[in-house]
Assembly symmetry: C2
Homo-oligomer: 506 residues x 2
């Protein structure tokens, strides 16, 4: 046992040092997107590239394979969901994947993604998909090669999904998303057909940026983001990144004539941040101290942004403060009810990142279905724009007039992030399941929120989600916490119950 | 030759990759001092420690020794002051020093300095030198060990000085500083005895921070700091750091009721930054693309801060702008002449960092003399406070009432930075030599400055200092540019010519 114990310590030390360097890389990325002088881009790319190389060497170090080989046979590995057991099992999963990918394929894919993003920007500006198509074909080809190198049981797309939602299976995700689409489609149509329009103009008034900053910081702090162990800064494409166990940084973007973008963006990123800050410090760099999956991460951001932050109780507390903070915009002509409807405006639209809480999922289903077709060879890159328009017609009843507002709108494919989109909707589904269970466990949370008290939910999430790390697959985690199998029903119920009264649907 | 050429390329690639990582380390340090959340300190220290270890390994990699052994015999090494020759010679100097220091001594000294700074902070707060003395003794002991390991020709202090002012010798620096002290002492006494007091109160009026930020940025930009390849941020102890060839970051500190601290601090750091931005990009990470020495670095910051920024012509241009920018502080009761005198106020004082341009050098001479005595074993750490008071009495005619305002005021010794102080006064001396020569070469610069034109001096420094990198020792560089041996005469002349009229001395 002492031999095993020592090997286990070596493995943990190695992983924790790797995490130290990953935190350094995260700083390089954060700084690039918030602080970097305009001329310094190329050298920063070199720095990130060099560190990526050092990190890849560490992750595929053959000593790690030796340690894992020994530890997999040890008693510590017997319970794969325990802290030590999951450390061995999850590090082994990652290691086994990493070493299967040839170094030259890693480099080719990295390079193709860098070029891809550059070409994508130009192609979108020119609204010309044909400029992007050859590079996208190359990225898809290399991504297929990578999936085939890593291997899969059912279908190639499983291997891609696994990078973001470990151990999820395409067939099951497809079924859940299909059910979700079948429930949400009719709800959207009912809302459109009822003809009632949310007073969204009130969100496009004068919201001074300094006042927005102060208000966003207040709300993020109130729901539990710890500014002693984090920061908020401005950037063009908001994100959340973790540099170390007490250093989680969120970002947002302010528009002086629009309230929602920065405020809900801040709640969203704060939700990610609260999760990161809630991971157990002593396990930082090891699976028990890591986020369970991208889907679970997204569940945390969307729960705080939408289920809490777009809810009536939240604004019972915050609306009077908002009215004081933004006296020009939120005068006597507005009021809590109008404001609440405005921030819950639902309507079919073309751009995913601007979509409401309901239609957002339809945008995701479209991408998920197209990605599957690309990777089972039933759709060619060249046919993507037509397939895109067809899907939008089918799911949202509208068609983009241009590829720039259609198939070219997202950065993901240009960056080789196939398999990522699904996690956004999985996050919505997980969030609804967890939120329903938290309300059941704690009693109705609404009265607490109305008093500006969020610590009940916060602590519940700490115990039931954050402190559990990545000891088991996301789906199993949610199933264990909620006591029923993975299902989109809570999300649909939540949306129906919120939106039917707002739109006075019968 | 092709064999040598390839070895040379290997060396350069290795050094440039090391510089990439040094830039990453610089980012970790910059971020720590400007952005880091309060709880994140310990993890950041771990990150810096890990990277320092990786860097030390790279710097002492035995392949570097092999390459240098081969290259030292090659044709490329024949001219040690050429770009390729200095690359070989200077990298060899550094490598030979680094490998002589045992790894455990490096670690012990690093750790002693970390502890030293912590103990120093507490000891200064408590105004109790005896708390600090044991740790300082340890730091001095280890620093002696390091100096003895590296080796020296004349005296042990040479080995310390060499870290900051490569190839400088104690005896010669001592002579120049002694001469400087003998010239400046009487000037200070004359100023004190004349009884005239600069109207320094006008600098302590209401200077709103936002207005200071804008004005400092304007001035830094005007003298040539490139904000597309740099930034300015706030910090507690201002510094300048370089993260890459187009990424130099300066910092400053604002006080709402004091003009000088932030403004001259900004000019000072911008001077450092202009030097860094002027190094040849294509040689970044190699001696021809590195600063010549700390003394030369300081010459650039002090020239812009003092010789330019505290001069009459500079304020002929900037005073009208300042009066507009700070209407509360700089009303009709002030005017250019009063302002100029205030920013050139000379008086003996106890704190180095608050000292004027003249007495500053006396503070340095005191520290330089005490350090020499510590390292030639003629002074014990325990006797430092008494020796300190004696020196202040001798050079400045005043004595600190407490050690907190005396021997405990500087961080340097607690951080094991012995040999550093002298470079501040060497910088003043080099600055005066170079400024005199620039005026001789370009004609009187005053009329240009009075019009807000600084490009003449800027370009002269690019050619004569910045682009020459670290191809030769600092003293030789200045001697080559100025055409006469290293001398404190230009500095004394400059100070006499500026101050005698201000204080109406005969």
């Amino acid at each position: 046992m002492s031999g095993n114990h020592s090997t286990y310590d070596l493995l943990c030390k190695h992983q924790k040092d790797t995490a130290l360097l990953e935190g350094v890389n995260a700083l390089l990325g954060w700084d690039e997107r918030t602080m970097l002088p305009s001329a310094a881009g190329p050298y920063r790319a070199d720095q990130i590239g060099l560190l990526a190389g050092i990190l890849h060497q560490r992750r595929t170090d053959s000593r790690v394979g030796d340690w894992l080989g020994e530890l997999s046979q040890s008693d510590a590995a017997k319970d794969p969901f325990s802290d030590a057991g999951s450390t061995i099992a999850q590090v082994k999963r990652s290691y086994d994947k990493q070493v299967k990918i040839p170094q030259d394929l890693v480099e080719a894919l990295t390079k193709a993604a860098v070029v891809g993003q550059q070409v994508w920007v130009k192609s979108r500006e020119a609204d010309d998909f044909s400029m992007f198509a050859p590079q996208l074909e190359e990225i898809v080809r290399l991504s297929k090669e990578k999936a085939d190198a890593v291997g899969y049981e059912d279908c190639r797309y499983d291997a891609l999904l696994d990078d973001y939602e470990p151990q999820a299976r395409t067939a099951q995700v497809a079924e859940v998303l299909r059910n979700l689409g079948e429930e949400l489609g009719p709800l959207v149509r009912e809302i459109v057909d009822c003809g009632r329009q949310a007073p969204k103009e009130i969100l496009h008034r004068d919201y001074p940026i300094a006042a927005q900053q102060e208000f966003g910081r207040l709300a993020a702090s109130k729901i539990g983001f710890d500014f002693d162990a984090g920061r908020i800064d401005e950037t063009h494409h908001p994100f959340c990144t973790t540099l170390g166990p007490s250093d989680c940084r969120i970002t947002t973007r302010y528009q002086p004539d629009f309230f929602s973008s920065a405020f809900f963006g801040t709640l969203h990123e704060a939700g990610h941040g609260i999760y990161e800050q809630g991971l157990r410090d002593e396990w930082f760099g090891l699976p028990p101290g890591e986020a369970a999956s991208m889907g679970i991460h997204e569940s945390q951001s969307r729960m705080w942004e939408n289920m809490v932050g777009r809810g009536f109780p939240f604004w019972q507390h915050f609306y009077p403060l908002a009215a004081k903070q933004f006296p020009e915009a939120l005068g006597d002509d507005v009021g809590l009810e109008q404001f609440l409807w405005a921030i819950n405006d639902v309507r079919p639209s073309l751009i995913r990142v601007e979509a409401d809480e309901v239609t957002y999922n339809l945008h995701i289903i479209i991408r998920f279905e197209l990605e599957q077709q690309l990777f089972d060879d039933s759709l060619k890159v060249a046919d993507l724009p037509a397939a895109w328009r067809e899907k939008y017609k089918h799911y949202l009843g509208i068609e983009p007039e241009s590829d720039a507002n259609g198939v070219l709108q997202d950065i993901h494919w240009s960056a080789a992030l196939f398999g990522y989109f699904a996690t956004y909707s999985l996050g919505n589904i997980y969030a609804a399941e967890l939120f329903e269970k938290a309300n059941a466990d704690l009693g109705d949370l609404a009265p607490q929120f109305a008093k500006g008290e969020f610590d009940g939910l916060f602590q519940w999430l700490r115990t039931n989600v954050h402190h559990r790390g990545r000891c088991m697959p996301a789906e199993k985690l949610v199933e264990e916490v909620c006591g029923h199998p993975f299902s989109s029903v809570p999300l649909v119920t939540y949306l129906q119950e919120k939106l039917r009264p707002l739109y006075q649907l019968s």
